[in-house]
Structures are given as structure tokens and as C-alpha cells.
Symmetry: C2
Subunit: 672 residues, 2 copies
């Protein structure tokens, strides 16, 4: 091995910190950090571009520990290389409110570029980070100044490679020729429950070659010269790179190296002692970092500090040469919106025939895209159906070698699409939206959750939102997904009733910069409501609002969302004929409504009016909150069926007659 003493000393320090922290927490994953310590050392010490004193530097290399359970590897590196992580933080690994949680959490720790843990998510994020870099380079590198010029480094485990999302990530990154994406694959051949030979025999490098990646193998994960050479080779190659590194889990542990016992449990004090002995380390020392290691690591960061100083100079020159572009760059990096941005969103005139909310939302999106260059995205092979293609002149697709477009074609890869969007957002400088059928939210649940957990304002557009989509049948007809998304903390789900609510929903989604939104839209046409006779659509911004009121206290309140709102409105006319005064509440966003002050909520749903009906072509789950114990839900607790959409809606009970009947029942006026 071509190592000098300081190299070895630093690597051993990473290993022992990982062992000690996991042992003290009595919880965690020591084995992977011990195996990966040399690779981490080479990455932070010789390869990656960063300045620990400016962990938010926009042109830093991004690092993604997709194998998030190996978090102590990351924390040890951040500590040694001078990020704001102290030894006390390491000692409080996995404790309440520490900066060193069990898995890396974005925003909790300087130097953590994304939250990881659910296997494969980090890999998916990293494709987004790498796409963002190329997209921003295409739009901001001008006048001979490259203000965007960095890489994304990823560490993946066997588990990441088994997950389906690794296929979607590998395939799309290969297609897009993302040369800035470099993946270190930790081939330690041990997963949580045993050797990978129990379930995993594929040739991973051959697989990535089939995707069009550059692949290289480092047979000895302790050989830092080989690691460095492989990483430099990855930098030099124009394709995305997979560096397979043969490591040994819990390297150096006399009884646990290469065993699954070292995967997810502390080694035990005796084993740690024996391991330290083998390393030539003081066996009774805990959390020991030799001074010379700190000094050595500090010296190694000078490369990045100097790179940042150079970059600041470049930036200054570029700013002088391109003041407008620079102003935009600063705006988008700060996630500020330009003044008057929402003036461009169209208002739609009343129209009984109406339009699908997917179509109206698509118009709003396209209008917004004209004033918000940061708005980028696409669909999972459904552009003609989701209406999310940015069609303005000059707005092309992102393709290999030309990343100046704004439409990203994801292919039929919903899971990756979600994780990639999180990466785009995390990178900074872009506001991503992604689209598919609402049913296929099923394939991308975890990224939606992670967007909420990380506070990333990704906009998830979900069309074909109910059994009303018709012929495609029950496999394509969501029933339970509204409830599923409404229960996700910090996620704002909008199901607009018509074109103007759809436009307002897009405004709400864009205005919100610290949480994701989901727009749930119809396939079928719905009337554009006549706002001269009904309340304005900007009531959406309070979550729920009185759309049509009664002269005096209502006898019954009909609460509806999306394509069922017009049924409720029509029902009021029939009820009026029977002398029943019915209020209609449009409730596009439960969460926003719940956030309103009690006074407002009571004004929309007065406690004394207990006769209430919900109308939504979906599971009734969650509606009791608004309709109360005397309420009637016009809803579905079954799956849909294949037939033309209007037939399905009628057969499953979404008719004016049925809403009228439900109102009568809620009022106790029906003998049945």
C-alpha cells in the first residue's frame, strides 16, 4: 500500500470514531464505516471540492451517503475535515437533538447534502444533484466564466444496488451521460441479515456497463493509491462512473470482520479493544483523535479553500459581465420569487362544458414558466396526459450533452423521478415539478415523504385522480391515495374544483418555499365555475371556503373537492326546490384549512349545523373530521371498474340525485 503514516493514522481515526460512537450509543452500524474509511479519506482528503468553512458554497461538490446507515463515516469525516461537527457531537451520536442523528438528516448537520437512510433514495437524489449542476451550468456559465462546475459523489451499498430505484437511476443517468456523477459502490458482500450471497449474485459492474456507465473496480478497499486513481479516472470519463470497491465490513475486527453481526449492531467493548489492538491503537482510548490527524486533515482542506477563493473571483468577474443573469442567479438560489410573478397566471371564464383540471393546471404552469426560469420538470412518460410539458418556444428537453432545456423526460421511472426531483431542489437554483398519474404515486411514496421531511418545495402533479378516469379500470383508479397523502406531515395536497382553483393551486405551490405540494387533477372535464355567482377561487389559499352560501343559516352543508364540487352545487338547486338551504364548501386542501384560526373554520363549518355531507370520489377515510358523527359521506370503500368515466361515476354513486339523497339523510329527513 502506498500510504504514509498520516494517511493510515487518519483512516484508523475514522474507524475508531465509528466504533466508539456506535458503542456509546449502543445502536448503529459500525461495519460499513470501518470498511469505507480509506475511500472516505481519499474523497475528503484528495478528491472532493469543498470548503469546510463555507459548507453551503454553491459550487461545492455534493456528497451523498446513499448507504445512510453508515452515517458515522460521514460524521467522522466532517469532524476531521473541519466542518462544524465537534467531538461532543460525535459522542452524542443518535441522541435527542444532536447534530449526529442515526441517519444523515439534511439541515441538521453542516455538510450533509441530503437526508438518506431508505435505501436507494440517496442514489436517486444524486442523479438530481448531477442533473441540476449540468442544467445550471448550461444557463449560468457565460462570458468564459464557469460559475457552476462541480461533481456529485455518492456512496452506495449492496442494499442500494438491490433496490429497484438503483436501476432507474443507473438507466437514466446513463442515458443522460451524466459524467459529473461518480458512484463509489461499497462491495462488502454483507447485508443486514447475512452475506449477500444469500440473495445477490448479479454482476453489478456489467449491469452498469449495460446502462452506458464507465465502470472500474478497486480490488482492495484499503489501497488508497488505487482508490485515488479510480476516482481520478471517474473524473476524466465523460460517462457517469461506478467505482466498485471491494471492502471488508468491520475491517480489522478479529471476530466480526466480514460478518452480518457487524452490520447493524455495536461490536461490543471487548471486540473494540481487540480491534484497536490490531490497529496498533491505544486499546483503552475512546474517541481519540491524534493532534497530527487534525493538522493533517486541516492541511488537506486548503485545496478546497483555495478553490473557493478562486471561484469567488470568477463569480465577481462574471457578475460584472452578466449583471442580469447574476441577479437571477442570486434570486433563484435564495428561492425568492420575482415581483408580480403570479400576475401571469390566467383567469378562466365561466364555462359549463369546462375543461379537465389537468389541462387548466397545465396552462397555469406554462404561464408561470414564462416568468420563473427556475421552474423545471417533466413526467414519467406521460406528457401528453399530464399536460406538464413546457411548450413555450425555446424550451426544450434536457438531453445528453445539452442540458439547456427545461423539460426532463423521466421515462417510466416514477420512483427515481421523485428522488431526482428532491435532488434538483436540494441542489439549489431550481424549482422542480414532476408528474404522473395519481395511481402511480404508489411507486414514489418515499420520495414524497422525504421532500416533506427535508422541507423541499417540490411540486408533485398527479392527474387522472379518481375512478372518473374511466376505461383504464381499477388498477389505474386511485381510491385510497388522497387519504394517504393527506396524512403525510408538512405536505400540502390540493384537489382543485375547477380551472380557477387549479390556477390558484399552482400559485400556492410556487409561493410555498419550505414544503412540498401535491396537485391532484382530473382527467375528465369539469365545469369552470361562474365566480360572479360564487365565491372567488382564491379561497383555496385558506384550504376550504364557502363556495355557495344560503341566505340564512344552512340546513345542511355539502363539502366537496375536485370534480365532485359541481355535483354538490347542482344538488343545492334541487334541494332548494324542496325548501332545503344547502351551503357548499369547497375543501381543496385539508391541511391548509386545519391551519386556519378556529374562528374562520367555525365560520365555514358552524358547529350548530351538524347535517353535513362530503362528496369525494375516493375513500371516506379522514372525512369524519369535517362531517362529524351525523354526517354522510358520498364516497367509495371499494375499488373502481373499467367503463367510460361518466358510467363509472354514475354506477358508483357520484350523481346529483345521490348527493341530494345524502343531504336528506344527513338531515334525518329521509325515512330510510
Amino acid at each position: 500500500m502506498d500510504v504514509n503514516d498520516l494517511d493510515a493514522l487518519t483512516i484508523t481515526t475514522i474507524r475508531t470514531l465509528a466504533m466508539d460512537a456506535v458503542q456509546k450509543a449502543n445502536s448503529g452500524h459500525p461495519g460499513a464505516p470501518m470498511g469505507l474509511a480509506p475511500a472516505a479519506y481519499v474523497l475528503w482528503g484528495r478528491i472532493m471540492r469543498y470548503d469546510p468553512s463555507a459548507p453551503e458554497w454553491p459550487d461545492r461538490d455534493r456528497f451523498v451517503l446513499s448507504a445512510g446507515h453508515a452515517s458515522m463515516l460521514l460524521y467522522a469525516a466532517l469532524h476531521l475535515f473541519g466542518f462544524g461537527i465537534g467531538l461532543d457531537d460525535i459522542k452524542s451520536f443518535r441522541q435527542w437533538a444532536s447534530h449526529t442523528p442515526g441517519h444523515p438528516e439534511f439541515a441538521d448537520t453542516p455538510g450533509v447534502d441530503t437526508t438518506t437512510g431508505p435505501l436507494g433514495q440517496g442514489f436517486g437524489n444524486s442523479v438530481g444533484l448531477a442533473v441540476a449542476e449540468r442544467m445550471l451550468a448550461a444557463r449560468y456559465n457565460r462570458s468564459g466564466h464557469d460559475v457552476v462546475d462541480h461533481r456529485t459523489w455518492v456512496v452506495c451499498s449492496d442494499g442500494d444496488m438491490m433496490e429497484g430505484i438503483s436501476h432507474e437511476a443507473g438507466s437514466l443517468a446513463g442515458f443522460l451521460r451524466l459524467g459529473r456523477l461518480n458512484v463509489v459502490y461499497d462491495d462488502n458482500r454483507v447485508s443486514l441479515s447475512g452475506p449477500t450471497s444469500m440473495t445477490f449474485s448479479e454482476d453489478v459492474t456489467a449491469r452498469f456497463s449495460a446502462y452506458g456507465w464507465h465502470t472500474v473496480t478497486v480490488e482492495d478497499g484499503n489501497d488508497i493509491a488505487a482508490l485515488e486513481a479510480a476516482m481520478r479516472g471517474a473524473i476524466d470519463d465523460e460517462r457517469p462512473s461506478l467505482i466498485r470497491v471491494r471492502t471488508h465490513i468491520a475491517f480489522g475486527s478479529p471476530h466480526k470482520q466480514d460478518t452480518f453481526q457487524a452490520h447493524g449492531s455495536p461490536l461490543g467493548e471487548d471486540e473494540i479493544k481487540a480491534t484497536k489492538q490490531g490497529y496498533g491503537w491505544p486499546e483503552d482510548a475512546h474517541f481519540l483523535v491524534p493532534d497530527e490527524v487534525y493538522q493533517h486533515c486541516h492541511g488537506l482542506t486548503e485545496r478546497g479553500r483555495s478553490a473557493r477563493r478562486d471561484w469567488e473571483e470568477t463569480l465577481a468577474k462574471w457578475r460584472d459581465a452578466e449583471p442580469d443573469l447574476a441577479a437571477q442567479w442570486e434570486r433563484v438560489l435564495a428561492r425568492r420569487l420575482p415581483e408580480g410573478w403570479d400576475d401571469v397566471v390566467p383567469e378562466f371564464p365561466a364555462d359549463d362544458k369546462g375543461d379537465a383540471t389537468r389541462a387548466s393546471a397545465g396552462k397555469a404552469l406554462n404561464a408561470l414558466s414564462g416568468v420563473l426560469p427556475e421552474l423545471v420538470g417533466g413526467s414519467a412518460d406521460l406528457d401528453p396526459s399530464t399536460n406538464t410539458h413546457l411548450g413555450d418556444a425555446g424550451v426544450g428537453d434536457v438531453v445528453a450533452g445539452d442540458y439547456s432545456g427545461r423539460n426532463i423526460q423521466f421515462g417510466v421511472r416514477e420512483h427515481l423521478m421523485g428522488a431526482l426531483a428532491n435532488g434538483l431542489s436540494l441542489h439549489g437554483g431550481l424549482r422542480p415539478f414532476v408528474a404522473t398519474f395519481f395511481m402511480f404515486y404508489d411507486y414514489m411514496k418515499n420520495p414524497v415523504r422525504l421532500a416533506a421531511l427535508m422541507g423541499q418545495p417540490v411540486v408533485f402533479v398527479y392527474t387522472h385522480d379518481s375512478v372518473g378516469l374511466g376505461e383504464d379500470g381499477p388498477t389505474h383508479q386511485p381510491v385510497e391515495n388522497l387519504a394517504a397523502l393527506r396524512a403525510v406531515p408538512f405536505l400540502y395536497l390540493y384537489r382543485p374544483a375547477d380551472a380557477n382553483e387549479a390556477a390558484e393551486a399552482w400559485k400556492a405551490a410556487v409561493a410555498r418555499t419550505d414544503a412540498p405540494s401535491a396537485l391532484v387533477l382530473t382527467r375528465q372535464k369539469v365545469p369552470v365555475l361562474d365566480r360572479s355567482r360564487l365565491a372567488p377561487a382564491d379561497g383555496l389559499h385558506r384550504g376550504g371556503y364557502v363556495l355557495k352560501d344560503t341566505p340564512s343559516t344552512p340546513d345542511v352543508i355539502l363539502i366537496a373537492t375536485g370534480s365532485e364540487v359541481h355535483l354538490a352545487l347542482e344538488a343545492t338547486e334541487r334541494l332548494e326546490g324542496e325548501g332545503i338551504a344547502a351551503r357548499v364548501v369547497s375543501m381543496p386542501c385539508f391541511r391548509l384549512f386545519d391551519e386556519q384560526v378556529a374562528e374562520y373554520r367555525d365560520s365555514v363549518l358552524p358547529a350548530q349545523v351538524t347535517a353535513r355531507v362530503s362528496v369525494e370520489a375516493a375513500s371516506p377515510f379522514g372525512w369524519d373530521r369535517y362531517i362529524g358523527p351525523h354526517g354522510v359521506a358520498v364516497a367509495l370503500d371499494r375499488f373502481g371498474a373499467s367503463a367510460p368515466g361518466d358510467v363509472v361515476m354514475e354506477k358508483l354513486g357520484f350523481t346529483v340525485a345521490n348527493v341530494v339523497d345524502a343531504a336528506r339523510r344527513a338531515m334525518g329527513k329521509d325515512p330510510r
Copy 2:
């Protein structure tokens, strides 16, 4: 091309039926069936083993149209080859209550072996079907009689191949060397929104070679001799096979062949006419099936009819030689349970220290596995954590070449695990369970839904069910997943309160033969409740029950599930000290409770007691149904945090003190 007239005539009939049916429905996907017609003809005419007069024949080859949107291909084949699908059925394609829904639906149509549509699911199911075949062969083929000896044929599209689950399926099938699995990959290079060259450049056959598959390419999808040779080669190879067939979407359509316009829309009458002209077909005929085609196809099915007759003879001999085994075979195929099967489930003595419900459930499972040989399954690389390994002597793992075990090691492949389990169940003869952390339900949502849609009694075991799991932190701590699963129609979710409810939950899951169950279990220990002083655990079978009552009408009702039930119980003691009579309701299964008669539900939750508290370490979403407008939810509308589990529970408010406080608030006794 080596075709005689009848071959060509039959293929053209399939093509024209697909065009006509989609046109009449004015909805559907004509292009793929037109491209795949020759492959389907060879499969049904020359390759597959089936008897159309006995579509449920247990030893038939299974067919999975993973590209479910190409449903007219399947319906046309089923019609021509004599399954119970008439021309009227074809004419009512995609209409209400027809046997020919938009996507193939299991149980709606004879000859449809699984519901497909969501891309990749069918591929995943097919791995399960092929595993089931090998497992049943290992246990039932005896005395020189092979009563289980068939194959699984699959048609996958480009879209299937892009989905992540195709990777998980390919990788595990390769590992298991499932030679009985043969996939026809419809390489038509067109997806819904454009040519696949927009997003897809990987070398699919190289990828499958990397998984250890036999791969072969048929360059001309109309060359039936080449198709047949490739399929026979697949049969001969001991590895799973991928037959890449270069087809042309909408083959023969003068203006739409090879375009995405032919993917998901009717061709239009004019184009159909022109296409039929090109085929030499009467251009004005619709739904034309020449008599000689019927006769020809009927003749081709004689091979399968005869195979079934032979099989019946083999079966009779085997039954004589192996009467006990035959009795078991008949029992498991009928999904009957042996008498007294549930006597083996242990009762757990009261114990304050208690045990994790994952551990108790694991004991119940192992006990059941002793009397139910059909119970098979495993986890996604989490056996040591999910406690789902069948540990009894002689119960080994399913591995390549030896499928006699009962533990299936899925690797870190949750999505496939769910789809594979559906395939195991659909095959017949096995009762599958699968396990992972509750958080990673996120990765396998769609298969759970499809189990419910298809009425398959798969048992989904989800451990580490709340923020109480502790150190792994928010990425691993479910908050919204209980609500998400409770909203899935026909799915029975149980969150047992203690060891004995866990045992009852396993009984309930096994007893239910027409719907899936989910068992949601703790990582942490919970007390085993003292049933001598509380209601018996079999109250679980009513969904919710009064666990601890008060002498007279309660002042407040505490409703809890899982690990929070003991908090509610402890709270009653403190409340008693304040003179407050609190009832505790354990509510392990919302759905079952809602199914009880009103009288029972009212007895548990009397309308006059409006002071109610729910206690569940999860989103409050959905609880209003039980706590009503005056209720207080002790719940979470945020994500969790990394710290020891008891610390997290305390910090997030899951304490006895907090439950007591909530009870006071619900009663309006608290000044705050």
C-alpha cells in the same frame, strides 16, 4: 417467413380484433397487440401448456401480460383459443361489467392469471408464480409422478423494463435460477409519449445477462419460426430466459406504425381501413373471425387438452401412491385450513416487562407454520429484525436448485417482495407472508393494493411500527403509514396491543382467505396485558373492544392501538385517583370494527360519551371517526427524531401524563 396461410390468417385476426375493439370502445391500446400478435400466436398455438376447457387446471402454464395495457392481445388469444370469451365480450371491451376490462383483471376473465396494468407488477407476480411452481414441485412431486411441472410465460414492454421492479425481479430470478420463468420482451421502442430513444438507451439483454439470465434476440417479431425456436430454447435452458423480440407497434398501420400515436389511442376508422387493406383483409369487416381460424386454433389446443388428460392420469396414480400428500394438496389448493389449526398458537402469560409484538408475532407464526405447510415467506433482508424466519428444524431457505425450503430470502427488494407474494398466492397451494420495516411499506404500496384488489390473502408483516423504534430516526419512523393502509379497500390492518393480540392477529390473518392482512408490530417491548383482569385478546376479532371497563357509564373513553394501549391503561389508574372513570378500548383493526353491527359498535363507543381520547403514535388522520368532534387525539402531525425509543416517545408526548391531560381536556375539565 415460414408461415402457412392459417398462421398468417390467425395473426391478422388477432391484429384486427385488437384494432376493432379499441376503436369501438374509443379507448385503449391497439399498437402493442398488433406488434405482438405473432408472438401470442406462437405462445398459445405451439408453446404454452393449457386446456381452455379447464382454465383453472393447476398444472397449466401461467401467462402474465405484464404490459397490461395490451389487454386486447390477451382477450383476442383467449377468444380464438377457446376460453370462455365470446365475440360479444370482445365487442364490449372496456365497458361496465364486461369480461374484457381495460386492463386484465384476475377473476373477471377465464384465462387471466393475474391483474396487470401498473407497469412491472406482472413481471413481479411472474417471479412468484415461477417460485411457487418450483416450491410445489419440490414438495408434491413424488413416487415418480410429476404433478407439478409447468412454466410461467410473461410479456413485458419497454415500460416494464424501465420500472425499478424489473431490476429486482431480474436480479432475484437470476439468483434463484428460475428456469421455468420465460419472459418475452416486446422491444417496440415506443412508449406512451414518444420513442423510447427519448429516455432509454440501456442494453436490456446485457443487463439480464448480468443477472445470470439466458438471453436471446428475435430480430423480426413476425418470424414465427424464429419466435418458436427462441421459446423452445428458453424451455431448454436452465436459467430464466429473456426473449427480446424486435416488434413494430401498430404493425401494418400505414401512418401510425412505430409511432407513439398508436400506443394509447384508437387508430381511427380511416387508418383501420387502410391497415386492413394492407393486410389483404376485408376493409369494411369488423370483428371478423374466419371460420377456418376458429377451426385451426381449436386444433392447436388439442395438444394441451391431451396434456391435461395425461396429467389427470398421473394425478390419479400419485393420489393412490401418496394419499396423505394428496389430501394435503387438495386442502391447500382449496385454501382450506386443517381442523384445530389455531390450537397451536401460544397464549402468553401476563408480564409487565413484556415483549415486542414483533417477537410474539414471530412465535405465533412459527407455531402456525408447524401445522400449515402452505405458510411460506420471508423478509427483505431483515429476518433478524422482523422475527419472521421459520426456525423449525427442517425448514430451510429456498435457494437455486433446491426449492424445498419455506423461507424465501428476498434481499433488499421490497417492491418485488410484495409482487412476488401476490404471485405465490395467485398460483395456488401456498399462503405467503412477507416482512419488512413498516416504513418500507412505502416501497411496496402498489402490490399491497393489488393483493386487496385481487382478493389474495397475503399477510404483510410490518415491524418497527412507530417513532418508538428510536435511534434510526425519522427516515425509519412511520407517521402516516397507518392512515395510508387503513384507507386501502378490503385490506385488514391489525396493530396489536400485546403478545396475545399479536397471536390473535395472526389467527385472523390466516383465517381470512379472500383478502390480505397487514400486521403492524412494535420494535420495542410492551407489557403482556393481564387478561385475568382485562377482556380477552380475542376481542381483536371484532376490530375494537372494551379492554378495561368502568363500573358505571364511563366519563371518558380512551381508544388506543398497539404500543400505546398500555399508556391508556396506566392513565385510567391516575384518572381513577381523580375520580374520573375511564374506559379503555383497544382498536387493533378499524375495518373490522366498522364491519360490526351498529349495536356492538355503540356498546363499545356509546354515543352519549363524547369525551374521548385516541392514543396512537402516528398521524391523527382518520381518528375523528371514533373520537368525534369533542375528542382529543394524542398523536403526531410531524416527523419523528433520532434518539433512544423511550426518549422519543416521551419527547413527542406519548406519556401517561399526557394521556391523563388529554382525558381532562376531552372532558372539558382542564382550564387550558
